[in-house]
Amino acid sequence: MGRNKGFIEHSAMDALSFMKDSLLADEYALKKGFLQSLDARVKAATFIFIILQVILARKMVVLLPLYAFSLVLAGISNIRLGFFIKRTWIFMPLFSLFIALPALFSFFTPGDPLVAFGVAGLKLTVTRQGASTVALFVTRVVTCVSYVVLLSITTRHFELLKVLRIFKIPQVFVMTLGISYRYIYLFIGIIENTYLAIKSRVGTRVRYKKGQHIVAWNIGSLWQRSYKLNDDVYKAMLSRGYSGEPVILEEFRIRPRDWLWLFGITVISVLLFILRR
């Protein structure tokens, strides 16, 4: 909007677009693939188990096979490797690399010199122990992120919500999360249309002050709508017999494939345990 334009509008639109993209990522969960065919409860439990192994691993010889395993799982689950690597390496691992970078040097991690160079008269020495620590840290982060991403993109969001119940999270919280997820779309639509309506009436040049007013008004209006919607949804729940404790359908079914997967993960864990010693 206006010269500053864009800041508010672009931020709002980009945030909405990001939310839509991330929430609409059911694309991979709907594909036919290995991970998609597993029972969501078994998948979530085993992934948490693998992530724990990754966190406990102190040797690259344990971490690298686990990372390679995540790539294999992505491959057999019909996930494009380019997409998967981009999704898992951007942000978290790069950010952790940035944090861990100082540990490369001898003043944080003393040890055997690997490479030495000077920057602005300052002599920097990368040590073997420092490089190993950083590599271990970043590999651990990227491996954890890979399994989290694999779980989230191969499982439909409503199945993930149901999985929360195996951790004994009260049904009412799970349901509230589900309802929030459901109505985010409605509100994203309302915000987008409101911006379009403003644009169609006032054009693209709005002064900064006016822009602030419009945004504030928008937030107020959205709050009112959500309040009204909340009331209506509650009535709709009551009219179908809701009485405070939701009952929902239990559809999970463990099949032979899930038992095979559990067996495979157990074998891998035993091997990793041997490697770790």
Binding site: H157, F158, R182, L229, K235, A236, M237, S239, R240, G241
Partner: protein
């Protein structure tokens, strides 16, 4: 009197105590009857339906359902509440309000599960409803991915699965294309033929004759000004015009343009 399901006497209701929504409504609704409530926007139709659905209660006046007074305190009794919810199903005007679960299937099954219906009955009703409304391919989708017509069908299915004796529908054809409208009308006629009481609120006069045995007309001052057979009500152009239910319609016959009230009694 045994065949009267709902009996309203001098019912008054206002929102926040200052915005009147019903100003002295008297109605009797009979078992297995097709009742339609017509009126302009804001005339009190939705408020009346919510009251019949046991969601709001009169400030003054009396509402009786199935021979018992319908009061808020009555719903504290779980068996009364469960029995009433099983017998009366309400389809809301805005399907987005009604579809709050992550998937269509969960939404459809929400009611029967809350009402502890037998699993085999739920499965049978699900198969029948999916077949009747042709929504089998929507079951695993999220409600936000559906068109308005699909949402409306799913909202109807979510109530139908409970298999209520009374089906209350608030503007069931609003914003729908002609074919989906037709499907919904056919469905309502069939539901009534199978013994269900069908109560519909609409301001779409196209559909009134087919879906009504009795029509109640709401005035702008939120009272029922006339009740009668649909053919009598729809012929009364003065009544319809004075309650914002008809408009002056201009169209061409060859080179000539002429105007008349638009009533949809017959095709022209």
């Amino acid at each position: 009197m045994a065949d009267i399901i709902f009996e309203l006497r001098d019912v008054r209701f206002s929102y926040l105590g200052k915005f009147p929504a019903l100003s002295g409504v008297n109605i009797d609704i009979k078992t297995a009857e097709k009742t339609t409530v017509i009126g302009a926007n804001g005339s009190g139709k939705s408020t009346l339906l919510h009251m019949l659905g046991g969601l709001i209660f009169p400030e003054t006046g009396v509402v009786r359902a199935f021979g018992e007074a319908l009061k808020e305190s009555a719903f504290d009794d779980e068996s009364f509440s469960r029995n009433f919810r099983r017998r009366v199903g309400l389809v809301f005007q805005n399907p987005d309000v009604q579809l709050f679960c992550p998937t269509v299937k969960e939404d459809i099954l929400f009611g029967p599960l809350q009402l502890a219906m037998d699993k085999s009955v739920i499965e049978k009703n699900l198969a029948d409803t999916v077949n009747t409304l042709k929504i089998g391919d929507l079951l695993q989708r999220s409600p936000h991915q559906l068109s308005v017509g699909e949402k409306r069908k799913v909202a109807i299915a979510s109530v139908l699965l409970i298999d209520p004796d009374v089906l209350i529908l608030d503007e069931p054809t609003a914003g729908l294309d002609p074919l989906t409208t037709r499907n919904i009308i056919d469905f309502l006629i069939k539901a009534n033929a199978s013994g269900k009481t069908v109560i519909t609120a609409t301001h779409d006069l196209h559909i009134v004759e087919e879906i009504s045995d009795v029509v109640h007309v709401f005035s702008q001052d939120r009272k029922i000004v006339r009740s009668g057979r649909p053919e009598e009500i729809l012929k009364d152009s003065v009544l319809l015009e004075s309650n914002n239910l008809t408009h002056i319609h201009a169209h061409r016959h060859g080179d000539r343009t002429h105007m008349h009230p638009h009533q949809h009694l017959e095709h022209h």
